[in-house]
């Protein structure tokens, strides 16, 4: 993995939290995607990509997130994004209308709670 960005993964049962540190652009988007795919186990039903420590994200990063979300959806896995309000990444997500495509929370706790509730809703429906 390049020195530009790195990830760490945290597993809480069927929930997997991926924290993306650093910057994502066309020079490392594929590596980052591959790293996240590797880090997410098949057993994980829910994925949270935490962009709190992501210092730069452009359209290549957005494309990465979309592709990841599509792939998870095909596997019946759901994905949420954490992007603090007013952060550089949040602006990018807002401007590109990503908020209507992938659920975006401002804080990780909110995302975890929403994820669990959504899960329960899914299970109950």
């Amino acid at each position: 993995m390049s020195e530009l960005a790195r990830i760490d993964a945290e597993h809480r049962g069927s929930l997997c939290v991926i924290r993306l540190h650093g910057e994502v652009d066309i020079s490392n988007d594929r590596e980052v995607l591959a790293a996240i795919e590797t880090a997410v186990p098949h057993s994980a039903l829910r994925l949270i990509v935490d962009l709190t420590h992501t210092t730069y994200l452009d359209s290549a990063g957005l494309a990465l997130l979309l592709r990841l979300a599509e792939r998870l959806q095909a596997r019946r896995q759901q994905m949420r994004i954490v992007a603090p309000l007013g952060s550089p990444v949040r602006t990018v997500l807002e401007l590109t209308g990503m908020l209507g495509v992938i659920p975006v929370e401002g804080r990780l706790e909110d995302a975890v709670r929403e994820s669990e509730q959504g899960d329960g809703r899914q299970e109950s429906s």
Partner: protein, 846 residues
Amino acid sequence: MGAGESTPLKTPGGLAQTFRSDPLNYMAKTLIVASAYYLSARLGLRVALIERNVTPLWPPTGIALVAFLVFGRALWPGVALGAFAVNLPITNGLAAAATAAGNTLAPLAAASLLIRVGFRREIDRLWDAVDIVFLGALLSMLISASVGAGTLLVSGVISAHEFPAAWAVWWTGDAMGVLVVAPFLLSLFQRPWSGSLRERAEGAALLLLVAVVSLLVMNTDRGLMFLVIPILGWTAWRFQQRGAAPAALIAAGIASWAAAQGLGPFRQGTLFEKMITLQSFDATVAFSSLFFAALVTERMRDREALERAADELEMRVTRRTAELSAANELLKREIVERHETDRRLRQREGQLAEAQEAAQVGSWEWLIPENRVSWSDEMFRIHGFLPQEFPLTFEKALAQVAEDDVVRIRASVKAALERGRGQHLPDIEYRIVRPDGVERVLRGKAKLNVGSNGQPLRMIGTVQDVTESKMAEREHRIAETLQRSLLPDRLPEVPGVMLTARYVPATSDMEIGGDWYDVMQLPDGLVGLAIGDVAGHGLRAASTMGQMRMALRVCALEERSPNRVVTRLRHLVRGQLDADFATLVYLVFDPDSGMVRFANAGHPPPLVVRGTDGATYLEGGLGPPLGAVGFPDHHLDVTYHLAAGSTLFLFTDGLVERRGATIRDGLDRLKTLVAVSDEDLEAMCDHLLFEMVGSDVSDDVALLAFRPVLLAREPLLLRLPAEPHVLAPFRWTLRRWLREIGASPQIANDILVASGEACANVIQHAYGAKEGLLEVDLVVLDGTVEVTVRDRGAWRPSDGRGTGYGERLIRGLMDSVDVKSGSGGTVVRMRRRLQAGSQGERARPH
């Protein structure tokens, strides 16, 4: 006269000529001779013994002879005239004429004979005396005696029985006239006498003595006439003919006079007895004086000649001796010089041999026509033999050379010989194998000498054993290559940071050191700088240094803290690396904040120059060198704020270590130099190296200098390769620039993302597979940032990956966007006001 002309005259030969040209002179001389003859005859007749016409001493014959000898026989008429005049009164005319003819013929014959035999008038040789006595007197006077006595007989003056006596008296008288008078007269015609006054007085006294003694003995009855002889002898001894002739004349004259007067010894006896006595006396006197004088003269001359010869001999001997001794001196000097030259030559040969031994240089000579090769002692030693162990030829000299090298040597020699002129051969390196099997590498130099018509005469040359230096040179070359390859070939370009490095290898062969440096671009725009020195020299140090550099690169990517990087290296050196000892400064610079964090492992401290504020060494954070044991690992990073415009130097000890000066002196000197140095970073480094190191680099020197500069002073103009990996450093630079121009974090991020998108588009779409340039210009105009992103390529259709988000982002983040695309490329110009107000105008979907 005809006879006079036809006979060659030794005596003044000009008379005949004189006669022709000057008859008056001739006549005068003839008359003088005639008169002299007549007068002397009258005088002679006064002493006549018989009838007044036969006289025992007849001077005229002497006069006539001398006249002929001195003035020439052409004067005979004078003689004839005188003789006729003398005889005419005595007899009748006819008898007088006959007698005169006889009296003329006799001296004429005498003169002719004497001239013929080479008579000398000086009578200084015995032969002259003999000639005048026998030829001039006794023989010639037979004529006058016979003619005269015969005339007397014919004319009846004497009877037949008186004839013998008359003839004898006539003959002896005439002969005595010649003997007594002629020498005297001849002596008068010699060179003027150069005798001293005393000698003249002595001569006169002797002549007087002759006269006195003669008179005395003539006046006594006792037979004492012989007493005159010793005095004559004495006179002849002392003065030769000069004295003898007059003395003889005086003695004979007085005796004749005495005989005529009948005095003393001539008082008794018959006429014949008197005649015998007188003639004997006269003859004795004449003979004695004549012969004695001639003898003495001859002896004296001989003695003089002998003396002259002796003198000459002596002179020649002296001269020859001098020459010999000079030659001898020269020879001695030459011998001494030869000795000295010899000694010097031997000394020089000795020195040469020593020098050859010391330099391991052998010399050789090849006399080509004789194919004789000679080697110096060192040449033998180089080849592994004892000096002069065996005689050599060209072939034998090459016996130990490696085969392929022999071919090269032969080719080189052949080419030189074919060129046929004096020349230096190209230097050649070749291998030999010594008898003990050791291989050595030699370097040969050679020179060919040729004769006047180009024929090769000899080749001389030197050979040096370069085995050690070849090996050292090879290792040095490898080490240097390795070291160069291990040092960064170019430094990363970090916007806002000026950076330069110098590496100067040691000049001496084996001093390739383990000095190294490195500059890395680290995550988040950080710059890592390292400088280090591995102990030792040569290949090992160079390879250790390479390992160290790689290890540091790996650690630097993983660890942010310089101290932790150094600590990891410390463990590595202790356990893994092939190094005993190494020093290192590792420093991380954050261009964003201007903060420097560093750790130092026993290395000379970094030096900071803050504009005109002076220089400071950053001496904190110092730990022990890598490889040193027993020190704790815990050290803290030292931080330092490096303001824009400050310069930081990292260097190795080669820069500050000089022979004869402490390292502290060197550090102080460097500090002083830096404080007054140029502003230009490159010039500064060159200046430092020049001043601190000069041309004699005893140890390697590495020098790294960097200086952060304020980006915001000017528009940011970036020319980057259109490659994905430039995007991150581009953003770091852009962030810093935006912060420095005072953009808010929010706005800075908007501009950053929009610019990043535009650049990513260029990288992805403008050039395809080709290399291309990405040009980004950022300027601030009236509170608005204008970003221009330009490419020179042709856009290809989007592959859909971007899904239009990029354009949406750009338009959403910036106040205005203007895209112009053409055949020469595409220009995207974007503007964003720095005032926060503009943000509110933008509609943002929430």
